[in-house]
């Protein structure tokens, strides 16, 4: 008899635990969720903590609440001034409306592929509309001239928008295209930007010839300065010698005259 009672209590406890585990769920600090009833969205939960659901009938879909990473595929693009470059981009995004997100994109993978399409496309078209310099610089500051290297090394070209301006354009255009997907792109940036290999080779050649020019300029400056000093030396020498001779003659002449005047 006693054993039977115990068995019943144990069974009851197990059943309660099972029901509780089916009707309670923990939402972590980093998560948010959508509750669906037979596939029909009922409510969204963004507050972390312990929550209730109807067992068997309601399903929960958990999504991340944090800022998520997105990394662009490094791709070859052409600028307006026909420079071939590799561009590598990144963005941060987060899920703002889990319900909309669930309906439109289902999961993160779906979101990633949509963001790929949107940002890669916008990047390509925006870059094609600007010169390379706009993608490199961010302000119109003037280059400081090196006091040792006192050569006007290539000056900085000025810009209209700059890298930040263009990034912002791409961000704005992309944001507009994802706003009905329940996500928001927070930040878009160009991470890396390099010449494609063939262009790089010609750039290196240009850099080498530029350095050669600077080296030649240095040497020629040195030789010029040396010649100037050597000329100065000649001039000084002749001036000193002739002045000494003149002074000596003057002194001797004065003495001769004095002697003559003394005798007469």
């Amino acid at each position: 008899m006693k054993n039977k009672k115990l068995l019943i209590i144990a069974l009851l406890v197990v059943v309660i635990l099972i029901v509780a585990s089916m009707s309670l769920f923990i939402l972590n600090e980093t998560k948010q969720s959508v509750v669906t009833r037979f596939g029909k969205p009922i409510r969204t939960i963004t507050e972390p903590g312990l929550h209730l659901k109807v067992p068997l009938i309601e399903t929960i879909h958990i999504f991340d609440k944090r800022f998520l990473e997105w990394r662009g595929d490094p791709s070859q693009v052409t600028t307006k001034d026909k420079r071939y470059i590799w561009v590598d981009t990144y963005a941060r995004w987060h899920i703002t409306d889990p319900l909309l997100f669930y309906k439109r994109l289902r999961d993160e993978r779906g979101a990633m592929s949509r963001i790929d399409d949107v940002i890669d496309g916008e990047t390509r078209t925006t870059i094609a509309r600007h010169n390379l310099i706009e993608l490199v610089r961010i302000t119109n500051r003037d280059a400081t001239v090196d006091p040792i290297l006192d050569i006007d090394s290539s000056q900085l070209e000025s810009i209209e928008y700059g890298r930040r301006g263009i990034s912002k354009k791409i961000l704005e255009a992309s944001t507009e295209r994802v706003q009905d997907l329940g996500i928001e792109i927070l930040d878009f940036r160009i991470k890396r930007l390099n010449y494609v290999d063939e262009v790089q080779a010609t750039v290196f050649e240009r850099m080498i010839s530029e350095r050669k020019r600077i080296a030649d300029q240095y040497r020629s400056e040195g030789q010029g300065e040396a010649s100037r000093i050597s000329g100065e030396r000649q001039r000084e020498l002749q001036r000193i010698q002739s002045e000494a001779r003149r002074t000596a003659q003057e002194i001797m002449g004065r003495a001769d005259a004095k002697a003559a005047s003394v005798y007469s």
């Binding site: 990144y90 290297l149 940036r189 850099m207 600077i214 040195g222 030396r233 000193i240 010698q241 004095k258």
Partner: protein, 311 residues
């Protein structure tokens, strides 16, 4: 039948023992899991039913088993990210691998290419944000750092970054990266940005060395000319002084000689004027005295006796 009865009894006893044992183990596990240690460099963040409840400092603490979860964040540890290279073995002589050109190669404002290696040192200052605001904060920080470095370098000439601008670049990157971290609220405080190697690409390095060589050549040419100048001019100046001094000497001789002669003449003249005949005679005799001993053959001829030749 008696056998079966006995068997049931032993099973009952055994079952009771097993259940007791299980309960004891569960209780011990629960008690043990109620304690946790936060390491010296960390803080512990307690999530109760997944919701953040409090932060605990290093030491021994108690939590509710199964319900509380502890996440430790190393807030005191200086963390480090390397760009363009990786330290494979840290130590007295650290070993590095440097073939991350895609990371280190970038464009400068004058559209040249530069290879730059740097280090970011940071701390997870706000553990809550570090854990819960951004997913994979380290990866995010790397992306941010690369983007910011390229922005700063993109606004400077190659020569600026290579020489005078190095420190300035590090400073700007630190500032702007911190701004970006604040914007992302990733809880990270950038402590230091350290520039490691800053070089032109390997393919053009030789030409950069040649510029250095040329710079030294320039100095050499100029110094040689200066040396020649310094060798010749002071000597010429001394020689000029010599010429002038010699002329002065000549002048003294000339003037003093003349003045002496005149003084002597005047003195004699005074005496002569007092007694002209006697003086004349004396001068004559003195002169003869001086002249005659030097003459080898002397002919004394009578004043009144006709010519020298026999008549």
């Amino acid at each position: 039948m008696a056998n079966a009865e006995e068997f049931k009894k032993t099973v009952d006893v055994n079952a009771k023992k097993i259940i007791k044992g299980i309960v004891a183990v569960v209780v011990i596990i629960l008690i043990a899991s109620a304690f946790y240690v936060v390491q010296t460099e960390n803080v512990g963040l307690i999530l109760r039913f997944g919701k953040y409840s409090k932060t605990t400092l290093p030491g021994l603490h108690i939590k509710i088993p199964l319900i509380d979860k502890v996440y430790q964040v190393p807030v005191e540890r200086q963390m480090k990210e390397e760009f363009g290279f990786r330290t494979t073995r840290a130590g007295v002589t650290s070993q590095h691998v440097r073939n991350y050109t895609s990371e280190s190669m970038m464009l400068t404002g004058d559209l040249n290419v530069i290879v730059l290696e740097w280090i970011i040192q940071y701390r997870a200052e706000d553990p809550y944000n570090f854990l819960f605001r951004v997913r994979s904060p380290q990866v995010t920080l790397r992306d941010m750092s690369e983007a910011v470095m390229r922005e700063v370098v993109g606004d400077r000439t190659l020569d600026e970054v290579l020489t005078v601008g190095r420190e300035e670049v590090a400073m700007r990157v630190r500032e702007q990266l911190q701004e970006l971290c604040d914007e992302y609220q990733n809880g990270i405080r950038i402590k230091q940005v350290i520039m490691q190697n800053v070089n032109p690409p390997d393919a053009v390095k030789a030409s950069f060395n040649e510029v250095n060589q040329a710079q030294q050549d320039r100095e050499k040419f100029i110094n040689q000319a200066r040396a020649e100048y310094n060798r010749v001019i002071p000597k010429a100046k001394g020689q000029a002084q010599q010429t002038i001094q010699e002329a002065e000497g000549y002048a003294s001789v000339r003037v003093n000689g003349a003045m002496g002669d005149v003084a002597r003449f005047n003195a004699v003249l005074k005496e002569y004027e007092k007694a002209p005949e006697i003086t004349e005679k004396r001068i004559y005799l003195e002169t003869m005295n001086r002249v005659l001993p030097r003459v080898e053959q002397k002919f004394i001829i009578d004043e009144e006796g006709g010519g020298v030749l026999p008549s």
